[in-house]
Symmetry: C2
Subunit: 733 residues, 2 copies
């Protein structure tokens, strides 16, 4: 080796030492690690989380972890292997820093060197079917996942790497992936979408680890560097000012991780950005809004594309909750979630949370759920969603009223949809998405064809379908172009909460308004009063479906069940997926249907005419591969130009199958009437177990806060505000 | 009042005092009460159980409890009221004895006086539809329930009653009910059946409370006094020598209460009977056998007519477990059940159990479930049931193989049926009964018409149906007249357990034999190997249904799903209740079908020919009132004279929807072959992930314990005993 060459190597070494910032700093800094290390012996949850990781990694020490050539779709061997691998990389890196045991770093290094050999040779994944194919995985999104954790891992093991090894890993393992995502898939990388958040985080974190400022810039401001895309744009455009994430709760659960992990790294790398305070602490709002969008059991509500098996104990939420705990401060609600998660990050946030949990004598029994209303759209002008709640602890009831924007490619055609949860159970459910994630036999775990043909369609929801066509004819661009409008809401009194919204674009020429009242109190029964008003210039067929979940008990009208042959409800827009289990002529006056779920009775009462038809359906038709779950709905069909669907969902009674007792098994609502419906007011009434209930609302937005006085049948009703309910003449307070 | 009259009243009073035995003694004696009272302050579970009862009764003190004229069916107001009332009577009586507070006794007395006024006036219940109508309730069974508790209550409150009141209650409240059951319904009272057990207990306990020896005699020996019916006969004939109760686990749960409560009273009243030791302590055996017939979550298995919502925390089991604890001695298994029940009887048994629980530092994590085999029939010669278990704690697996007698009026036509439970989940389920107990809207809570037309029929089970006709053509008398025969069983090694049984009468001219192997071990996969052999003199259509519970994942054969119209499977014997969801031509060689339940995969492999047909069905056809649950089955149809249905149920893999991983999602069984099937031996083989498995069994009972040596394709196999399995030539040990 020549002296000159030796010298240049030396210079290179010194220079690389000078140019390199302090590492680690992507996930944790040396100072932070020292405090985490000190806490390990003190706080049980930190300790067990550490032990869990050690238990995962220790058996691998001294072995060679397979880094296979990618072949299989999601759920298959190579997919799951690479998925495991990035967590092994990250956890070995962490353990190396916490223990000083070089064997952990060596494990990660060896894997990285294998990736450095593999990644430059990778073609498009053989199973790629999406528009954003991956290389290590079938879709680029998973490659971005890999970069996020590989980036943090690389940052952690740098002390053991020679310069040559460091360069080899940067060049071989990281650069091909970064280049692929930002060049080959440039437009996908720049897209405002949860995939984009992951891609930015992956590229940005890898940039911080590899001292590649250009990567970090690209991650922050997009490939153009102008900030029209990139991480900051994702923070501006995907999250509404109140924290609602436009793709819905299932996807905020997914995006929250790269948001928080990249912000966490940026906090170390570019403190001047003050990323956690960015846009009035929008990440904090997104996390807290996400947590409010969960059921009593922690499951994220299934608006839009969503699987019903992700709760707040997932890795994504452990990550976000713990980082938030460090960056936004301690919070009892977060501590409660931490106690349910039963593990923490080996990070200052996890340390603080574990320390607080060790100190707390009594935990709250439940997350502090409350009525929340979120605006959608980056400016908060794209409609919204209301989560109306009453009842405490295990008897919590939640009505979801969705009048948000479409929700990008994961949106459903469900304007003005409602879902109802009671006592932790899904009573009026949302199908969610047709997908078996992680199950290779089911189309490689991808969205199934029935997701588009059924799950996203309007009839799979609980909102009006006009002329058997989905909202916006099921065309995403059209749905993205318009959004509903909230008309008013009054949610401060738990005895009566009301929200009203309007949709004018979903079915051309048809104006839809839905107003939902949630009533509950020691003097009141538990009712959802639902006024769905539809009007048009011409006559239409309106289908008013309500998805229900429970055992069919009884109707107050005769129906004809399909007993020897069953046919489908229609040919398109999801109707082809519904078996017609029974059909009926509605009862003149009122039709009521009772079902039972988990020891409680639910009765749907509707004001109907004998010209209305009612169908009971079950999904599963047009399903050649058994991809759909079998779920039930009741559909009321009415031909009209304008009409009001006046519906009450009564939650009542108790059934004790062990003691064989049932209490209040019958609904008590009768005599449903529309008293007035004009440009100014809609007024309905009904009888509840002998009480006369009158429900009124204004129909003009400017009237919302005014005083109102109307005369009906020689009786005067007066109130202030957008809506009111009287029980035997006395207003609900 | 004349002096003479006063005198005679006095004489009557004295005499009544003399003739009366010591009270209380039906439920507890004064001595026992003293010890329970002393324990109240010491043992938390006793204390909370006491508090619970006080909490129920205290608000009623000083009020008048309604004793309405009977009107409603089960689930209706008057039904539920009278049902509550008898527990109020009993609990007030107990509280009076434990506290000395006369207000409790007064509450019960006032109610009794109302019954004394009501009962003599009662006609047959207006809602009575059964052959044994009740008076207070729609069926006599509930009147018997009332007598059991009213009898014990009356026994407890005697100190506060005047002679006149005592007579008034005996004459007015008790006698009409006793007379009604024993005279008007004499043949029902004398029937050997769970209703009879209740009736005897009600009459007997009331007799002990009222010092009516004649009632007690009638209860013990039947109305004839000869002992051919009555309680002792019920103890002899309903329970097999090992403790199996012929009506099945759901009904032993129900009958166990009157058995134990009346025995408990007899222990005080007629100690010479030694009722708890009667028939080698048959009540103990019945209770322990009942507990073995529950799932991990405590639910009683749903053989025969059964609802899937009764577990070992019901009042019946609290009663039996606690009394057994006192009369048969302490037991860790019973203590575990007590800890799950979270309440005890205010009785020496409850006292002892609560005391033991307070002392125990660590409870077992589960009831000590084990493989158990029960003979059926009073002599133990009426077939039986095997509960084959492997795995520990939460990963327990249970195969139920039913070759019992019919099971009286609650039996199903399911000879040689199997059910499979894994990790607490029902994998190959039994529909149980079609009934919504306690729900008035569903036919008054009674058995629904679909119970007979579907739930009891053979096709609703997992056993062979010949020519689309149920076993015994669904005729109870014929089914009662014959029973299957156990051929052999070897269950001592958990790595391989095998049971074989034969049925010759269910389908005339058709001999059916089923042999089930359960395999599990650290070196073995978890398999159920099922050999169902059928032979006849002529050709038949054999349907081999398997009920499965889970999400359809994949088959290894193409099938045609009904996508636009669905038809029924047949016209009778339950087939009219099955929608044909898909049909297929079986694969030449082997047909496999995978489904997913609760994060685990299950694959059904069958050796098939391309002349076999396969159907996937769902219940719910022919169901005009939505009375049936929608459940799924796979049916293999084969036309043959004699055949072997060789089936393997492979339990495999893990699916983690949160981490989106699946492991071993594919079944590994292939190359299923029948190597030999003759009068002496049946030998099959298959490949499991590269291993060659050979399974052999003997076909002649006398060979069971012999040495065997057979030659197949120039290879010799030898073993001792009824059956053997070799993996790559090595026998499973």
């Amino acid at each position: 080796m020549s002296a000159i060459f030796k010298l240049s190597l030396f210079v290179l070494f010194v220079l690389s030492g000078i140019c390199r910032a302090q590492h680690p700093r992507a996930f944790v800094t040396a100072t932070e690690l020292a405090s985490v290390k000190a806490g390990l012996s003190k706080y049980p949850l930190l300790q067990s989380s550490y032990a869990e990781i050690k238990h995962q990694i220790d058996p691998l020490l001294g072995t060679t972890v397979d880094v296979p050539f990618p072949k299989d779709p999601a759920g298959g061997y190579t997919h799951d292997r690479h998925k495991s691998n990035y967590m092994i990389l990250f956890h070995s890196g962490l353990l190396y820093q916490l223990t000083g045991d070089i064997r952990y770093a060596t494990l990660a290094k060896q894997m990285f060197l294998q990736y450095a050999d593999l990644n430059p040779r990778l073609p498009k994944h053989p199973q790629a079917t999406s528009s954003s194919p991956g290389r290590l995985f079938w879709q680029a999104l998973n490659d971005a996942n890999w970069l996020v954790y590989a980036g943090m891992a690389f940052d952690l093991i740098q002390p053991v790497l020679t310069v040559a090894e460091r360069n080899q890993i940067i060049q071989g393992a990281l650069t091909p992936e970064v280049d692929y995502l930002t060049k080959d898939l440039q437009s996908w990388f720049d897209l405002i979408h949860n995939h984009g958040v992951w891609a930015c985080a992956g590229v940005g974190i890898s940039g911080i680890a590899a001292d590649r400022k250009d990567w970090v810039d690209m991650a922050l401001y997009g490939t153009s560097g102008k900030g029209t895309s990139g991480f900051l744009a994702q923070m501006q455009q995907l999250i509404a000012p109140d924290g609602y994430y436009t793709e819905g709760p299932y996807y905020v659960r997914y995006a929250i991780l790269p948001y928080f992990l990249f912000a966490n790294a940026l906090q170390h790398d570019r403190p001047a950005l003050q990323i956690f305070q960015y846009r009035s602490s929008i990440l904090k709002k997104a996390l807290y809004a996400g947590l409010q969008q969960t059921n009593l059991n922690g499951m994220f509500f299934s608006l839009n594309d969503a699987l019903k098996n992700k709760d707040y104990t997932t890795n994504e939420l452990v990550t976000a909750v713990d980082i938030a705990y460090a960056r936004y401060g301690a919070d009892t609600g977060l501590a409660f979630i931490g106690s349910r998660q039963q593990r923490v990050l080996l990070h200052p946030g996890g340390l603080a949370l574990a320390a607080d949990l060790a100190r707390m004598k009594k935990l709250p029994t439940q997350y502090p759920y409350q009525t929340v209303e979120y605006r959608d759209g980056k400016e908060g002008t794209g409609g919204g969603v209301s989560f109306i709640r009453n009842g405490a602890d295990k008897s919590l009831t939640t009505l979801i009223f969705k009048y948000s924007s479409h929700g990008l490619s994961h949106g459903h055609y469900d304007r003005l949809n409602i879902n109802l949860f009671d006592r932790g159970n899904e009573i009026l459910p949302d199908y969610g998405s047709a997908r078996f994630i992680g199950i290779e036999q089911k189309y490689g775990g991808r969205y199934l064809p029935e997701n588009k043909s059924y799950a996203t369609q309007t009839i799979a929801h609980s909102t009006v379908v006009v002329d058997e066509k989905s909202h916006f004819n099921g065309i995403e661009d059209q749905a993205e172009a318009a959004h509903p409008q909230k008309l008013f809401s009054m949610v401060s009194k738990s005895s009566m909460q009301v929200v009203s919204a309007q949709e004018k674009a979903a079915s051309p020429g048809v104006d839809m308004r839905r107003t939902v009242f949630m009533v509950r109190g020691s003097n009141y029964p538990q009712l959802l009063i639902d006024l769905f008003e539809v009007s048009a210039q011409t006559k239409h067929q309106y289908d008013f479906p309500i998805q229900y979940n429970g055992q069919f008990i009884q109707t107050n009208f005769p129906y004809q069940a399909a007993t020897k042959a069953q046919t489908v409800m229609g040919a398109a827009f999801g109707y082809q997926h519904l078996w017609k289990e029974a059909s009926a002529t509605a009862r003149q006056g009122q039709s009521s249907f009772t079902f039972l779920q988990d020891k409680r009775f639910y009765t749907i009462h509707q004001q109907t005419d004998s010209t209305d038809q009612i169908f009971f359906t079950r999904s599963g038709a047009g399903d050649p591969n058994f991809n759909l779950r079998r779920e039930t709905s009741m559909i009321t069909r009415r031909n009209a130009q304008q009409t009001l669907f006046f519906q009450i969902v009564e939650m009542h009674g108790d059934f004790d199958p062990v003691a064989e007792f049932s209490k209040d098994a019958y609904g008590k609502v009768s005599e449903m009437r529309t008293l007035q419906q004009n440009a100014s007011y809609t007024v309905v009434s009904f009888n509840y177990g002998g009480q006369v209930w009158v429900v009124a609302k204004v129909n003009q937005t400017q009237q919302v806060s005014q005083q109102h006085r109307i005369e009906i049948n020689n009786q005067f009703w007066q109130w202030q505000g957008a809506a009111a309910i009287w029980v035997d003449g006395k207003p609900i307070q």
